[in-house]
Amino acid sequence: MSVTINTKINGQSVSANAEASTSLLEFLRDTLEMKGSKLCCNTGECGACTIIYNGKPINSCVTMAADANGAEIVTIEGLANGDKLHPVQQAFIDTGAVQCGYCTPGYIISVKALLDRTTKPTPEDIEEAVSGNICRCTGYNKIVDAIHLAADRIAGRA
């Protein structure tokens, strides 16, 4: 059964058909050909597919596309302002937090959601915000550095 999904993605209204069983991640990647959100575990464990859904970060692989009807979604493709990167994106580059880069889109989305709430995150805030994002390359050091750098820049401290 095919359903029509009307949603707003990165500020743009989108209307497309998809099978009722389609996950939101499949809808983004396969139906809309927005490949920025990444497929990995497909069980909501790794965070590579994280998007912002009505203001909150979620795993799009375990969310049904049909649930996105009427929702507002932000994906990694929607963060930069033209050529100007979002401070979180820039900080990931500047600190060397992007190794293979496969977890990066999901990570950046989770961090953006965190820094939208607070620009003075405690270590506990950071752990809570990104404990669902697995990075297999960095050992997390550089990612933590990126989070602090982005927070400092957003708050005007750096």
């Binding site: 990995c40 575990c41 464990e45 590579a48 580059i93 060397g96 992007v98 404990s131 994002n133």
Partner: protein, 762 residues
């Protein structure tokens, strides 16, 4: 070039391809979409060991939307393998682990392909399974491969079976020296299988071209071996196969061993594309991947060491049972490496170790990050602490007493050049506060050292093309998975050509255009592609100087490139832009193309003359062990590494921290768990635990300089060595905290609590 003159090397500029990756436009294998592509899916064995009686694909072929169904009968009757040629791309006659590919389908959608898989009727005759690598060598064990002989070095009457690799370390007279030792410590250590769990699943895409060539897209670390093996498996001429690499979302050696790594996903995809006469793409499901692709194998290691009362090591004997899995894969090489490293990297005058790589009904061993090393180091470095305890010596003093110096030999290395081991120990002690830090109740401090190979291996080349605007395009045979191609190569070329790092583009590997290479494996990116690219850039520079010299009426020897200008040394006003020279080249030689090689024979000769400059490391940590739950929390972790001259400092640190994290995961929680029938109990990420941010300590990395390696500018490989010490480091800290030695990984709450209970401490 003297170090003081380095302009870029050792800094941390933005990685090539960073912007694409942070905006979601980085193209990985999984992001490919070929026009008119079909979706491929693979049927995997449901038994760990069984005869295939029959396969009936007729019902699967009738499913609407299915284009082709293939089995071994549709592929040439040829096998692949690195040491033992023991494996078909689709199982014939027998399956040897749960996850062994049996058949494949190409269909209009993935859902249809999966539906069709369920309609394939395979009749199996289940066989007894062999899961433990030591038990599998005994006469009573089931035989995995009837037609694979024992290695020639094992006597036929030895009463051993299922062995595909035999390594022997023999130095001096270990038996005699052991008998004369004051103290002998005899232990057994065991590690479990872990999966590299790179986040991007394995993919393959394939398409027959109108000219009869097959194009294969692969997220493989070694595209050239994939080309060679795919051609062979499909009966195609080598020059009729082209392999193109997409960006890799991690690999860690798990994608490193030709078609073995992905359990032949590339040739299976090629077979489907040929039969379907349509492009086909296969994306492995992550749980499917955990049970089918190559892994870091488990090992059982017997280790016995004799020492004098003053702490001098006099002898070691040992035995290794290395789990190769259902096929030999990389198990022979990794098992051999593990056997060698069980001899340690300290002075060892007498040593005898036998190592066996053993077939079991489990998935196949790959060259996962430091193949064989982390396993051996868990035994060696835990054992060092056990000996120190028996001697009543401080573990660091015991190690320092036995470290080699320049010119000495260690097991597997006839001569060392510089030896940074002692300095890494001393720095790690200082950083962790050894003997100074006040430990609270249930806290312990631990240390472990490590080393890794810095020896010759396959060569490789680099081509540096200078474009008419002065920018540069580099072709190498190594892929970028967060490693040297995206970080160090642009820096090296920019350093030599006097241009900004951002003016250098390193091209993805395409076997039609890139220089041959064994792949991004073995910590060899910097040595092979780094060294070759430096020489290629110098070759290009020489050509540029020759042409600029004519224009500037100066000797090429008197020229330099600074800020994209070629100028006469000492007369900066006398200059011409690099872009001008590169443009003018169109009318002279066409294009400046520099070529360089990493010459394996030269490296070997260098090593023979001056000794091996292998890297050393020491890790140290403080842990807290809960006597109630057995949970181990790492409070502080330091990693001290000699990697020679760092090229991209942040990337080198990142490699160290990531590699350490992988082994910290293996130390504390990671393992692929099998039931008694050889079924993987934790294939999905829901059950396969690996380190998340809240489990990981901050790894405090220190780079020790002053011990140049054989890479460009004195660099050494840095991708694997940090995997070596963590498991023993943590086990030693637990021992320090509790007095309990845990010899089996993981050091999970369950195992730690059991250890504490057995010792009457919980």
């Amino acid at each position: 070039m003297a170090k003081a003159e380095l302009r870029i090397i050792g800094s941390s500029p933005a990685r090539m391809g960073g912007v694409e990756r942070v905006i979601g436009k980085g193209v990985y294998g999984i992001d490919l979409m070929l026009k008119d592509q079909l979706h491929g899916a693979i049927l995997r064995s449901q038994y760990a060991h069984a005869k295939i009686v029959s396969i009936d694909t007729s019902e699967a072929k009738k499913v609407p939307g299915v284009h082709v169904v293939v089995t071994a009968a549709d592929a040439p009757d040829v096998r692949y393998g690195r040491s033992y040629i023991d494996r078909y791309i689709l199982a014939r006659h027998k399956v040897r682990f749960m996850g062994d590919p049996v058949a494949a389908v190409a269909a209009d959608t993935l859902a249809i392909a999966r539906q069709a898989l369920k309609k394939i009727k395979v009749v199996y005759e289940p066989l007894p399974v062999a899961l433990d690598p030591e038990e599998a060598t005994k006469p009573a064990a089931p035989t995995l491969h009837d037609d694979m002989p024992l290695p020639k070095t094992i006597p036929a009457d030895a009463g051993l079976k299922n062995i595909c690799g035999h390594a022997v370390v023999h130095v001096g007279d270990a038996e005699k020296a052991m008998a004369e030792a004051d103290i002998v410590v005899d232990e057994v250590y065991e590690t479990r299988m872990i999966h590299p769990q790179y986040l991007e699943p394995r993919i393959a895409a394939a398409q027959m071209e109108p000219n009869g060539r097959l194009t294969v897209w692969a997220n493989a670390q070694a595209p050239f071996p994939v080309r060679q093996e795919t051609a062979k498996m499909l009966g195609l001429a080598l020059n009729n196969v082209r392999v193109i690499s997409a960006g890799l979302g991690g690999g860690f050696g798990g994608k490193g061993s030709g078609i073995t790594s992905g359990a032949a996903v590339e040739p299976i995809c090629g077979l489907l594309a040929i039969k379907a006469k349509r492009p086909v793409m296969i994306v492995l499901d992550k749980a499917e991947e955990t049970i089918s692709t190559t892994i870091r194998a488990g090992a059982k290691m017997y280790i016995k060491t004799g020492v004098k009362k003053d702490g001098t090591i006099v002898a070691r004997t040992g035995k290794v049972f290395y789990d190769a899995g259902g096929y030999s894969g990389f198990g022979v090489q990794a098992g051999g490496r593990c056997t060698n490293m069980l001899g340690g990297w300290y002075l060892m005058p007498n040593c005898h170790i036998e190592g066996y790589s053993v077939y079991t009904n489990k998935q196949v061993c790959g060259p996962v990050r430091g193949p064989g090393g982390p396993q051996a180091a868990f035994a060696v470095e835990s054992h060092m602490d056990s000996i120190a305890a028996k001697l009543g010596m401080d573990p660091t003093e015991f190690r320092l007493k036995n470290i080699p110096k320049a010119g000495d030999k260690i097991v597997g290395v006839p001569k060392l050049r510089d030896v940074s081991l002692g300095e890494t120990i001393k720095i790690a002690k200082e950083k962790i506060g050894w003997g100074k830090v006040k430990l609270e109740k249930n806290q312990g401090i631990g240390i472990a050292t490590g080393s890794w190979i810095e020896s010759a291996g396959p060569g490789g080349g680099s081509i540096v093309k200078v474009n008419e605007d002065g920018s540069v395009t580099v072709h190498i045979g190594k892929i970028d998975m967060g490693t040297i191609p995206g970080f160090g190569i642009p820096m090296i070329v920019a350093e030599e050509l006097g241009i900004p790092v951002s003016d250098v583009t390193v091209v993805n590997v395409d076997t039609d255009a890139s220089p041959w290479d064994a792949g991004t494996v073995g910590s060899r990116g910097i040595l092979v592609s780094g060294g070759a690219s430096r020489l290629a850039a110098i070759d290009a520079r020489n050509q540029i100087f020759k042409m600029a010299g004519r224009q500037l009426e100066a000797s090429p020897d008197d020229l330099e490139i600074v800020d994209k200008q070629i100028r006469v040394k000492g007369t900066p006003a006398k200059a011409v832009a690099l872009a001008t020279v590169a443009t003018n080249a169109h009318n002279v030689i066409g294009e400046v193309i520099g070529r360089g090689y990493c010459d394996n024979l030269e490296l070997m000769a260098e090593e023979k003359a001056h000794g091996s400059s292998q890297p050393f490391t020491t890790h140290a940590c403080i842990v807290e062990v809960s006597p109630d739950t057995g949970n181990v929390k790492i409070l502080k972790y330091v990693a001290v590494h000699d990697i020679g001259q760092p090229i991209h400092r942040a990337a080198a640190e990142g490699q160290i921290e990531g590699a350490a994290a992988m082994s910290i995961g293996q130390a504390l929680c990671e393992q692929v768990v099998f039931d008694q029938n050889g079924r993987t109990m934790n294939p999905s990420f829901v059950d396969y635990l690996m380190p998340t941010i809240n489990m990981m300590p901050r790894i405090e990395t220190t780079l020790v300089e002053g011990y140049p390696g054989s890479g460009p500018y004195g660099a050494k490989g840095a991708g694997e060595i940090a995997c070596v010490p963590p498991m023993a480091c943590i086990a030693n800290a637990i021992f320090n905290a509790t007095g309990v030695r845990i010899n089996k990984l993981p050091l999970s709450p369950e195992n730690v609590l059991r250890g504490l209970k057995e010792a009457g401490k919980a």
